[in-house]
Amino acid sequence: MSMDRRQFLKIAGLTTIAGVGGPAVVAGMKERLLEASELVDVPGRSGALTAQRWGMVVDMSRFRTEADRQKVIDACHHIHNVPDFGNPKDEIKWIWPETYEHAFPGREDEYMPHALKEMPFLVLCNHCANPPCVRVCPTKATFKRKDGIVMMDMHRCIGCRFCMAACPFGARSFNWRDPRGKDAQGRPFIRKDNPEYPTRTIGVVEKCTFCTERLAKGLQPACAEASNGGLVFGDLEDENSNIRNKLRNHFTIRRKTELGTSPSVYYVIGGTEHV
């Protein structure tokens, strides 16, 4: 068989493509088989908490002092190994206080009570029904679960931070540096780690997950548990749930509803106990 240079190069090129590309195609197919199989839901077996759409009511009448708020924040940040870098530039937070005018910008009124204007509202991921962060993520690293929780897959996140640009609530934090590192004084950023939960790594985005790991065990989210009734967590689609009861009996507001993301976190502004 005779072959000129051109033919040889053609055949060699095709062989290379087949050699390099073939396994990739096979691997891709295998991947898809797995994705299909994982869609099968294991029926509730171990008493996990389930819902159609998880939501939360923050009752500000129960958060009178800083200690009330700090208890909740610490509970969350400790069990999730949230680092404290001690500077706002690298800051990572899942739940934290913002005053009314910052939590609800555009809603402040000129002559509203000073105490309300300065009242620190606990803010966290709103687990929106129509989440823009999920819409923009190029790898489905952030996605909405069937129970309404907007979840992060830290294994898949490429750290493009499109979700941070898209979230209207500033709920997302980025690991600008290694959360497992230490500061100049040799103090670790994660003061005391929780060995039951992972940390994160450089270059991924993180946020509140409504404690999916605790729901799976039949436990309320850590913040709700520590809140002394200040945070009511439950199924928004279930008429008889405690959260729906709370919503029925109180005037509540949500953050930036005009944007159409439909947050699942509601706020009761304190002092109105007309159950």
Binding site: L39, D41, V42, G44, Y197, P198, T199, R200, L215, A216
Partner: protein
């Protein structure tokens, strides 16, 4: 062929370089693959020393199981329960199930991974257990 000798010498050197790892292992002493160590207090306590799946299966497919667990826990699972071939249930968790028994990451995970020169990124985030070996 111009410069035929040089080309042939070059080819021989190239060929030797390519097969040098094989030569090294056949002429020299082949290195012994390490045996993962299961000597931990937790495993020693077990009456029947059994992992979630049979040893041979785990040895070949642990990375696949871990990947499946990962996707199930993070992306789907409400209960995070794994049912093995014998119908036994396990909490799908690297930190809270696997490493609770295999509390000797250095002698269990790292030994083989170092030998195979693979660097799984599990431990970038997941917290390794306090090393325990009896």
């Amino acid at each position: 062929m111009y410069d035929g000798n040089k080309i042939i010498i070059g080819l021989v050197i190239f060929g030797l370089l390519i097969i040098s790892p094989i030569l090294y292992n056949t002429i020299g002493k082949a290195s012994v693959p390490p045996e993962p160590d299961i000597n931990t207090p937790e495993i020693n306590k077990m009456i029947e020393k059994k992992c979630v799946e049979p040893k041979s299966f785990m040895r070949a497919n642990h990375m696949q199981i871990l990947n499946d667990w990962r996707d199930e826990v993070v992306r789907v699972g409400k209960t995070r329960t794994y049912v093995n071939g014998e119908g036994k249930e396990f909490n799908m968790s690297l930190q809270n199930t696997c490493m609770k028994c295999h509390s000797n990451k250095k002698n269990f995970c790292d030994k083989c991974h170092t030998y195979m020169a693979v660097k799984p990124y599990c431990w970038d985030c997941h917290i390794a257990p306090k090393e325990k070996t009896t």
